[in-house]
Structure formats: structure tokens, C-alpha cells
């Protein structure tokens, strides 16, 4: 069992195995994403209260879910990398961070674009937006630490540990921000989650969430392939691949 894991998690093996996975994930993301967009933009009915502005949630909510999901993937794979010394896991963590940061940014921008017609200002210290902003800082801290340490191995392990510490902190941060928010804003602020969302709106929302996750799966594989090429640049298998290109 252990040998099997070691063999399959070798960057060399991963490099050749990941090609069909990338292809299928990309196709699935494209198909599901386009169908979700079609349903969300053309089929879903106009909301009686928010008008058409609610259509932003088909981007905003999947982006926010994905941003949190990626942080968890990052922390778990960093943990695997530290405990079992699997290099591939370290690479997955490092490859995830920029994607996670970009989707956190997307969630923030769309949240504020949704907020302008709803609240009248682009920014409000709403619990979710604030949590997202803090999540963005956590991502940026991870990436800064990763690039500040010269030695690749200790950079991976140190930033991985930071990801884990951050993951332990996220529930605490989330809870305290939520609590702080209810205290200052009250329940008057409109929230994204309507108590019962219409099924014609829910289906495109879920489809978009799946498409975003598949997109992440594709891109994290592509980035991990780059990482494995770069980190094994002095090994023979990389030399052989590069010479053929």
C-alpha cells in the first residue's frame, strides 16, 4: 500500500497520468459552466424583489464557496505534505494558493457590485464580505511566506504550517466576524441567502458551483505539472521530457 502511494505520488508518474484528467475536467467544466450560464442568464425568472441584479449570485456564491474550498484543500494537502513527506502534496498546496486568491478577489468584487444596487454603496462591512477580505489576506500571507524562504523544502513546510494554522483560525474568525456584524448592523441588511430559493435559481447556482470546482481541478493539475517540472528540473525524467519538446 505504502509503496503504491509513493509510486503514484511521484512527480514523474503524476506528470504523465494527469494529461487525460486535465482534458476531461476541462471539458466537463466548460459544458457544465455554459449550461449553468444559459439557465442562470436566460431561463431563471427575474426576482420580484431584487430584479435582475440577483443574477450576480451565479458568480459570487460559487466563487466564495470555491475560495473557501481551495483553502481547505490547501491546508489538507499541506498537512499531508508535512506528515507523510509527499512532495506532490506540497506542490498541490503551492499551486492552489494563486487560484484561491484570485477567486477570493472575484467574490469580493462581485459582492461589492451586487452591494451597490442593494445597499447603495460599493462596500459595506457585511459579515461575508469581511470574511472574504480576511481570507484574501490569509492567501496573500501564505504566498508571501512561500516566496520569502529560499530553500524550497522549508518554504513548502513553513507556508504549509501557516495554511494549517489559518485553517484552524478560519472558524474562529468567521464566528467572530459574524457576531461582530450582527452587533453593528442588525438584521436590516439584505443577505444573499433568501430563506427559500426558487428551484429555477437553485439549479443554475449549483451547476455553476460544480463548474467552478471542475475549473479549479483542471487548473490545479496544470499548475502542479509546472511545479513538478520546475522542482525536478535537475532530474533525468524532466530532461527527457524537455528535450523531446
Amino acid at each position: 500500500m505504502w509503496n503504491w502511494i509513493q509510486r503514484f505520488s511521484s512527480p514523474k508518474h503524476f506528470y504523465s497520468m494527469s494529461v487525460p484528467l486535465i482534458k476531461w475536467f476541462a471539458i466537463a467544466a466548460l459544458v457544465i459552466g455554459l449550461y449553468g450560464l444559459y439557465l442562470g442568464l436566460f431561463v431563471a425568472p427575474t426576482d420580484y424583489k431584487q430584479g435582475d441584479s440577483y443574477r450576480i449570485i451565479f458568480i459570487h456564491v460559487p466563487a466564495a464557496w470555491l475560495a473557501m474550498f481551495i483553502y481547505m484543500v490547501m491546508a489538507v494537502s499541506a498537512g499531508i505534505g508535512i506528515i507523510w513527506r509527499i512532495r506532490l502534496a506540497d506542490m498541490v498546496a503551492a499551486a492552489s494558493a494563486p487560484i484561491g486568491a484570485s477567486f477570493t478577489f472575484l467574490a469580493l468584487v462581485t459582492g461589492s457590485l451586487w452591494g451597490k444596487p442593494m445597499w447603495g454603496t460599493y462596500w459595506i462591512w457585511d459579515a461575508r464580505l469581511t470574511s472574504m477580505l480576511i481570507l484574501l489576506f490569509l492567501y496573500l500571507g501564505y504566498m508571501a511566506l512561500q516566496s520569502a524562504i529560499d530553500d524550497q523544502r522549508s518554504a513548502d513546510k513553513a507556508s504549509g504550517l501557516l495554511a494549517i494554522v489559518g485553517a484552524v483560525n478560519i472558524p474562529i474568525i468567521h464566528y467572530s466576524v459574524e457576531w461582530w456584524n450582527t452587533l453593528h448592523q442588525g438584521a436590516s441588511v439584505a443577505k444573499f441567502d433568501a430563506p427559500s430559493i426558487h428551484i429555477d435559481m437553485l439549479i443554475p447556482l449549483l451547476l455553476m458551483a460544480v463548474a467552478f470546482k471542475l475549473f479549479y481541478a483542471t487548473m490545479v493539475l496544470v499548475r502542479t505539472r509546472n511545479e513538478s517540472l520546475y522542482r525536478d528540473r535537475n532530474r533525468r525524467w524532466v530532461r527527457e521530457i524537455v528535450e523531446k519538446l
Binding site: 427575474t46 430584479g51 435582475d52 441584479s53 443574477r55 450576480i56 458568480i59 459570487h60 466563487a63 494563486p98 487560484i99 484570485s102 477567486f103 478577489f105 472575484l106 468584487v109 462581485t110 457590485l113 451586487w114 451597490k116 444596487p117 475549473f215 487548473m219 496544470v222 499548475r223 505539472r225 509546472n226 517540472l229 520546475y230 528540473r233 524532466v238 530532461r239 524537455v242 528535450e243 519538446l245
Partner: protein
């Protein structure tokens, strides 16, 4: 879009930019890595042939 066109299409435009950025960056990165490795291979082969001539 019932008066919300700027906000809705703005959001979708930003999403498109983020998605495209996520696709383009690793492709550029890959090119850079491969270029760098190729250069190393070339340099090493030159050094190798020089040291062979020297002997």
C-alpha cells in the same frame, strides 16, 4: 437586465477576466520553465564538450 446591466455584466466581465487569467498564467509559466530548463541543458552540454576538449 432591468437597470442593473452595469452591475450584472460587470460581474460577469470580472469573472471572465479572472478565469482567463487563471488559464493564461500557468501556460506562460510552463513556457518559462521549459525555456529555462532548455537553456540549462544547452549550457551543460557546452561545458561538457569544453572539458572534454581540455583533456
Amino acid at each position: 437586465m432591468g437597470g442593473y446591466a452595469f452591475f450584472v455584466w460587470g460581474s460577469y466581465a470580472v469573472a471572465l477576466i479572472v478565469v482567463l487569467g487563471n488559464i493564461v498564467t500557468p501556460i506562460m509559466q510552463r513556457k518559462k520553465v521549459i525555456k529555462r530548463i532548455k537553456r540549462t541543458i544547452k549550457r551543460e552540454s557546452i561545458e561538457l564538450s569544453r572539458s572534454n576538449q581540455g583533456q
